[in-house]
């Protein structure tokens, strides 16, 4: 009999898969976006069951809170409400893609299921490491360098956005 934690994990996992599938199969962009929001909440739950509170909160704040709001705004501004906007034609590549994706999943599943699970419960380490406090600690000591250097990445993305969005392409 699996513990409640494992049961929750499985349920949330199924939910995450279902909502992500719905995201790409819905024809209405708004419905897609809403499914994506639901998907983020499923992930939030998954992180919580794994004792990663900080990541879980950030997930909600950044993705569901900020990014998805932006996405929905864009959809509304562009008026992409019409159903056929995301309609796709049939293509042999799609079939091939499905086959390949299934093969990937089967391979992953066989790898994971083929081995006896080493984890029956969360280790104490996970409990301790997931807190905001411990993350803050390592972020400014051991992982100071990546923390600083990632600012370059953000700046590069920022400049990129300016270049691509700048209206005066030709002087």
């Amino acid at each position: 009999m699996p513990s409640l934690q494992v049961l929750l994990f499985i349920l949330l996992g199924i939910g995450a898969i279902a909502t992500s599938v719905a995201t790409i199969t819905r024809r209405n962009p708004v419905a897609s976006a809403m499914n994506l929001v639901a998907h983020f909440f499923m992930l939030f739950g998954l992180y919580l069951t794994l004792q990663a509170q900080f990541v879980a909160i950030v997930q909600i704040l950044v993705y569901a809170g900020a990014i998805m709001v932006l996405v929905i705004f864009v959809i509304m501004l562009l008026n992409l409400g019409k159903e056929q906007s995301l309609d796709e034609k049939f293509s042999p590549y799609k079939v091939l893609g499905m086959i390949m994706a299934s093969a990937f999943v089967v391979m992953m599943m066989s790898m994971i299921l083929g081995k006896p699970s080493g984890y029956t419960q969360l280790s104490d380490k996970a409990l301790a490491n997931g807190t905001t406090e411990s993350i803050g600690n390592v972020l400014f000591t051991q992982y100071l360098f990546p923390f600083e250097i990632i600012s370059l990445l953000l700046l590069a993305a920022l400049i990129g956005a300016v270049v691509l969005a700048n209206r005066t392409a030709v002087k």
């Binding site: 790898m111 700046l155 590069a156 400049i159 990129g160 392409a169 030709v170 002087k171």
Partner: protein, 475 residues
């Protein structure tokens, strides 16, 4: 901590100057020239720093990055690539009338990202570096916003790049799950002493990591984006991406090869050998039928990734030395070829067909001679630099028992002669229909071409110089 700043000076300096570059950019809204000089100065400074810190091998910032050694050699290479691209790019974007500060800034950021990759001693840093570089490339590829091809190229690159990055991170997380660390040295020790959970997780993680890096390196079967993106991107950017960018991906694989591949025996080497063979064959065979010179060079760039991978298959001192030498030689010859293409093209996407090059030797003897020179070097004809690069790698592969791979490599490099020489035939042995084409005045790009030519000759006449430096890193 204070020592860390000194020993890792190149990377600290370039990061600082990259951030400062935006400030400079903002303070001088009217003058693109100042940003140009600032970016150039930054790379020059970082290059000098790299040269100074080369002997200080070690790690810094809690083992996050390595200092000195081969990382600094790559620093010099990236800065050199960046500088040469800057010189070639200025006249190019001025011609197209789209000069913006951001172009130079992004080149600087890409170089900074590459340097982060080269110094990485931790999967996390490798990932961040790859992303800094890639984001800069996505934007640079779409820099000609009014040109559909350029935008298409950027979008494709971005979509597929994100797809590949997903697998890269997936692989990294598997590796972490299996070895419990992101640090390369610790990871190597754990694997060696058998302190790993789920050996299968390690295998699959390694596989996914190779997938991700193969994409960045443009190796088969993850190379489909290359011709489209390289064709659409601004030509000097293509030159930059296909040389320094490839070198950076190679430098990312280096510590990984040391930590994981070196420890897990022949399995991964076998996989890399298959990828290398496929890359060489598909790249060279596909290049034969291309009519667009940028597409042709794109496929040739795919093929060269295959040669480089041979060094990883060998995964020993000789192989790594060969890789460093090859990447150096390749940077100069491929960049030189792309800069020449940029001199000939018109209005972003005109005059790029092979037949446009007919009779070029009559109208522009210098450009044609240089192009022929780079083509011969790419084809691996001695005594140009390209030959010795191939030679080192082939020898390394043979020594580690991959004779069949060497035979495939030799065959595919023979195929490559067909299209490299095809271009030379166009330029020298055919007459233009009608007037023939005009090339642009090289301007600053002349400097790029001079430097590139100098290095291709120097590396060919004195291959030992670079080879000895490179080998000293892998003792």
């Amino acid at each position: 901590m204070g020592m860390d700043f000194l020993t890792s000076a190149p990377i600290v300096l370039i990061s600082f100057l990259s951030v400062l570059c935006i400030v400079v950019d903002a303070l001088t809204p009217k003058s693109e020239r100042i940003t140009f000089y600032f970016a150039g100065f930054s790379m020059l400074a970082a290059m000098l720093m790299a040269a100074f810190t080369m002997p200080n091998t070690g790690t810094a910032f809690n083992g996050m990055i390595t200092t000195g050694g081969v990382a600094t050699f790559f620093d010099i290479l990236f800065c050199m690539g960046g500088l040469l691209t800057l010189f070639a790019a200025r006249p190019y974007i001025l011609r197209e009338n789209v000069e913006h500060d951001e172009f130079y800034t992004l080149i600087l950021y890409a170089v900074a990202g590459m340097m982060v990759i080269a110094h990485a001693h931790n999967l996390l840093i490798t990932f961040i570096g790859i992303e800094i570089m890639s984001v800069s490339f996505y934007v640079l590829a779409g820099y000609f916003r009014s040109n559909t091809k350029s935008v298409e190229s950027a979008l494709k690159y971005f979509l597929l790049g994100a797809f590949a990055t997903g697998f890269l991170v997936f692989g990294m997380s598997f590796l972490y799950g299996s070895t419990g660390t992101l640090d390369y040295t610790v990871m190597a020790n754990n694997i060696q002493s058998g302190m790993i959970n789920f050996p299968m997780l390690l295998s699959v993680g390694t596989g996914l990591l190779i997938v991700g890096l193969s994409f960045k390196m443009a190796a088969f079967p993850f190379h489909q984006w290359v011709p489209d993106v390289y064709e659409g991107a601004p030509t000097v950017v293509t030159g930059f991406m296909s040389t320094a960018g490839k070198a950076a991906s190679v430098s990312a694989l280096m510590p990984i090869a040391y930590a994981i591949i070196g420890e897990s025996g022949h399995q991964v080497a076998g996989l890399l050998a298959i990828i290398a063979a496929g890359t060489m064959l598909v790249g060279n065979i596909s290049a034969v039928v291309q009519q667009n010179i940028k597409r042709m060079l794109a496929y040739s760039s795919v093929a060269h990734a295959g040669y480089i991978l041979m060094g990883f298959v060998a995964n020993n001192e000789k192989g790594m030395t060969g890789i460093v030498y090859y990447v150096t030689a390749y940077l100069f010859m491929q960049l030189g070829a792309f800069v020449l293409v940029s001199l000939i093209e018109r209005n972003i996407d005109k005059q790029l067909e092979l037949r446009d090059y007919a009779g070029l030797s009559k109208k522009h003897p210098v450009i044609a001679a240089l192009m022929a020179f780079f083509m011969f070097s790419l084809a691996g004809i001695p005594p140009m630099a390209g030959f010795f690069g191939k030679y080192y790698l082939f020898i390394a592969a043979i020594e580690s028992g991959y004779t069949w791979l060497t035979i495939v490599a030799v065959i595919s490099s023979m195929i490559s002669v067909y299209f490299y020489i095809g271009l030379v035939v166009q330029m020298y042995f055919k007459d233009a229909e009608g007037e023939g084409i005009d090339a642009h005045q090289p301007g600053l790009a002349g400097l790029t071409l001079t430097v590139a030519t100098f290095f291709v000759i120097a590396l060919g006449i004195m291959p030992s110089t670079v080879e000895q430096i490179a080998r000293s890193f892998f003792k």
